[in-house]
Symmetry: C2
Subunit: 232 residues, 2 copies
DNA sequence: CCAAAAGTGTTGCTTGTACACCCATGT
DNA sequence: ACATGGGTGTACAAGCAACACTTTTGG
């Protein structure tokens, strides 16, 4: 099927590397694999895999995520392609970095542990192989951009959450502390959350109301995600 | 040299496609090639080329630009990778889109014409092959983002320019009209332009002062560009 | 009743926007 | 002198940030 004109050109190995971010204990965590062989043995690695013949790179990323974490319908965003010829000493591999946002919960932790992976706090990352550290940095930059232009949280928090939890998430993403009053007002003015009649009593005597994203806001947010999956 | 482990995986054709933008007659223009053969004969194409064995994709993009326009030291930014398996009917080719900003001047126009390329106003683009239209749209989005977070213009305008020209450029990028007074104040407050003692008398009797970017601001802007070229 | 966290109000400052106004000068 | 576009001033509104204040309730 391949046009003869193309025959003269080099083909390349193509991989995807996923910066999988979760939120737990008031900080962002990154899912990493230990590398058990040379070179760079002892360092840690993003979850990655090669792109197959008949799939989009977005699908390759989803496949990698599914195979290693069992998770489906994950929020994914393409970040950047990395192509230094010697970035992978084993062969010339061009890699496309993605970031993914997932909810960390116990069953995922077990599943993930079976595969040898481990959640690392972003603030205390170990040494990463190749250019993976740059992939992480660029992903965080993108995540910050995204979080400033729209309210994120539905991908990282449980379905219902308090505004305090949401604020802590934003504190973790931006590495600063937002003013409780101002944050609350600003978020509520976006008109994407609805208050439930249940309170979280664990943090205080007064209790903090639970909120959740309105269906409308979720619909709007999920559209681009599924576009991602099926139309590149 | 290739590690045996990689042998099982598919290799892919990798190309770069460049959204080359220039500014002329108060509008943004896009450099396109006519496609002279089937399929999609009669449509127009971005300037592109395949990635070679031992070059970064950034360098591939620079090479394509140099070979087709003769221009060096061009401002380049990676935008997104496109990977639908059938996006190119000739073969499975994964393509990475870049946008480039260049100054249009007469000698470039001649040079470009020799290659059969043509500058098209963004507002009146012809039909493009494959997914090139999406590449253009995504590039414009990125350009707008960039232009909102920092003053661009040194790549698109002559070395000296009036604030009116700069405003027209911004009008063209954002498809709206900025208020003359407010635009001027905001731009000058950024403290990256210096006023020359020369006036452009062509537009009015009073004349409009020429400005240029300060060396300091250019140094800061060019750093990331050359990083792009040599360290992916 | 009081400590402590949740939530509201108030104020001053910065920024954006609309638009009126002044300025310089070639004809 | 006046029309024309360049350039400045002003006044109002919106948004942000700091922080004081009120509310609730388990101990």
């Amino acid at each position: 099927m391949t046009n003869l004109v193309y025959r003269n050109y080099t083909k390349h190995y193509l991989s995807v590397d996923c910066v999988i971010l979760g939120y737990e204990e008031e900080e962002l965590k990154l899912l990493l694999y230990p590398r058990g062989f040379a070179p760079e043995e002892g360092k840690w690695s993003l979850l990655g895999g090669f792109v197959n013949e008949n799939e989009t790179i977005d699908n390759a990323a989803l496949r990698v995520l599914y195979n290693t974490t069992g998770l489906e319908e994950i929020y994914l965003e393409q970040v950047h392609s990395f192509s230094e010829p010697d970035r992978d000493p084993g062969a010339r591999v061009v890699s496309i970095a993605y970031y993914a946002l997932v909810k960390i919960n116990q069953q995922d932790i077990d599943l993930v542990r079976e595969h040898g992976a481990h959640w690392w706090p972003l603030s205390k990352l170990p040494d990463l192989i190749f250019d993976h550290r740059r992939m992480v940095d660029k992903s965080i930059e993108r995540l910050q951009q995204k979080a400033s232009s729209q309210l994120i949280g539905s991908e990282l928090l449980p379905e219902t959450f308090t505004l305090i939890q949401l604020r802590n998430l934003y504190n973790a993403i931006f590495l600063r502390t937002f003013d409780p009053g101002n944050f609350r007002r600003k978020i509520l003015s976006l008109d994407v959350l609805e208050r439930l009649d249940i309170k979280d009593m664990s943090g205080s005597k007064k209790g903090a109301f639970y909120y959740r994203f309105t269906q409308k806001s979720l619909d709007m947010k999920f559209k681009p995600i599924f576009n991602l999956i099926n139309q590149d």
